[in-house]
Point group: C2
């Protein structure tokens, strides 16, 4: 199976017609048309075996997640996704792997009407780089820079599930006690694993937030790190109420209270949206994000100053885990 044939497998499996694609995979480059009145939104992210997914992750899940993490970046800008380019590096020319990878990729691509317009396959250690392209009306994009002191901080969905699944998937550390009885793929662990392997990019939420949020980011490195980026870009600080963090029943069933809180604050891989908005918009926002299928929870507020602090129900600052997932700091 040659490189050319692997691209053909991807092309055949990922076919998805869009009127704005003039020329898709198969030439030296793709041709497509950005609608009038729209800005192009572009991002790229790499997933690496053993760093961003466990080596035994199903190829379908890798395909899904490689697209999902990029769509999550588009979602955080309030963008409508349109096209993707895929660079896949594989240890060997394994058609079965590529077919299964493509199945997962295209399942998510179809759900969001995304056309795969470019691809490259190379031989090497398993790695996937996706570039996602989408649109926003001119001037409508959400960024990290718009938060103001007095804004309320919200997050979509639940936090910590993916990091919980990862913690449960890794071998126990020396000296670690017995784990809870719910750690079975049939029970809560299965739900957590789904959140790790099949994150749902919050595209509909991002679109709904265009006129409601002042600043937005997706939670990929962990809430503390990502909200920290918003604070830096907006030149403000933030205060998070530990008790307000949205924690799923599955995470509650699997970890003690402090571990849950640490996973929610710094676990990462959530692919939820964290955003700020004026307090008076809360009811409108909660209603809009319920319609978008993920809900939203008020978790704190933007303050003057800098940095992110976490407070308990008495308003006392509590110690937090190291902020954020940084590949090169381990």
């Amino acid at each position: 199976m040659s490189e050319f044939a692997l691209i053909d497998v991807l092309r055949a499996r990922c076919a998805q017609a869009r009127d704005d694609v003039v020329l898709g995979i198969g030439d030296d480059a793709a041709l497509s048309t950005v609608p009038p009145g729209r800005q192009l939104v572009s991002c790229t992210d790499t997933l690496l075996a053993g760093v961003h997914f466990l080596p035994d992750t199903a190829p379908e899940d890798i395909g899904w997640k490689a697209l999902a993490v990029n769509l999550s970046d588009l979602a955080s800008m309030g963008a409508e996704p349109a096209w993707a380019l895929l660079a896949l590096t594989l240890p060997e020319a394994d058609t079965g792997f590529v077919e299964r990878f493509a199945d997962g990729f295209v399942e998510l691509a179809r759900a969001h009407d995304i056309a795969l317009i470019g691809g490259d396959t190379t031989q090497g250690p398993l790695s996937v780089t996706v570039t996602a392209l989408g649109f926003v009306p001119i001037g409508a994009a959400l960024t990290r820079a718009g938060a103001r002191a007095g804004d309320v901080v919200f997050v979509t969905g639940m936090l910590g599930d993916a990091a919980g699944a990862l913690a449960l998937s890794l071998p126990p550390l020396a000296g670690e006690g017995a784990r809870s009885a719910v750690f079975s793929p049939e029970g809560g662990w299965g739900q957590l694993l789904k959140r790790l392997n099949r994150p749902e990019p919050r595209i509909a939420a991002g679109l709904a937030l265009r006129d409601l949020a002042r600043a937005c980011i997706d939670v990929s490195d962990g809430l503390l790190a990502d909200l920290g980026h918003v604070c830096t870009a907006s030149n403000v600080g933030a205060e998070i109420e530990a008790d307000a963090l949205p924690i799923s029943p599955e995470l509650t069933a699997s970890f003690d209270a402090q571990t849950r809180r640490d996973l929610a604050l710094a676990g990462g891989d959530d692919y939820e949206l964290c955003f700020t908005a004026p307090a008076e918009r809360e009811a409108t926002i909660v209603k809009a994000l319920d319609r978008a299928g993920c809900g939203a929870t008020r978790i704190g507020r933007i303050v003057a100053g800098s940095g992110v602090r976490v407070v308990d129900s008495h308003g006392n600052v509590i110690a937090t885990p190291r902020a954020g997932w940084e590949h090169f700091s381990r």
Copy 2:
């Protein structure tokens, strides 16, 4: 040095202002504006250590080449490059490497007024994926599909130099005879190495060919393979005159006649443009590409049928090396 800081190194070194970039590196995604009347042209290509470049290649050269191979794809479409996204995987957080990589990348980016608008850094085996974005006027793009029987086949620049440099860089095979005396970086080898490590994407040539060529491709996998793609896409065949292949003095000084021919036909990594056009445009084309700085050589013609054959000066078909560089066929 964290992942965030490495991105900052890239951002700082690769800063390049463009009026059409609304928001560059530093948020979840970039915002940019495609000019009215233009189609977006997109491509992505990965370079992997030990596959696409020698492990001891200078970081500056890797940075240059990772962008160059993508710009070459844009050139073959007749596109004007505008923006690039970069996904860099590194074994360790080596600021010095990233600085030198960025220096090579930005040297080429500045030469073509390209803004780096997105990036991702991860930890793993050395690998670089670039996505290049550009424009063409609506309907003006060159593709692989326009060749017609009777067209003349041209190629820009010289063929085989990069493959020659690679052959000279690798350890001699068992039983291989002594190599020519010009194999020194100061002599011909230096010129060949430059062609391997610092390919010049034929952007100006691609722009000049928009109204002159009928089909176009860049020669990355080797002339036979890439012209074969044109033939398949255009549903025609091609006949190449072996004696017409453009061979540099440096390649001539380093290899015997048959090896030179094989390197020119199937070596790959040339990043020249191979294109077809009506015969009566030859003088105009040669003049236009001289102005574009690379010249053009008539190397054969498009015929009815399929496949690419190579003929000697008597018109006899000659045996050719295996067509094309395929990563997964080794």
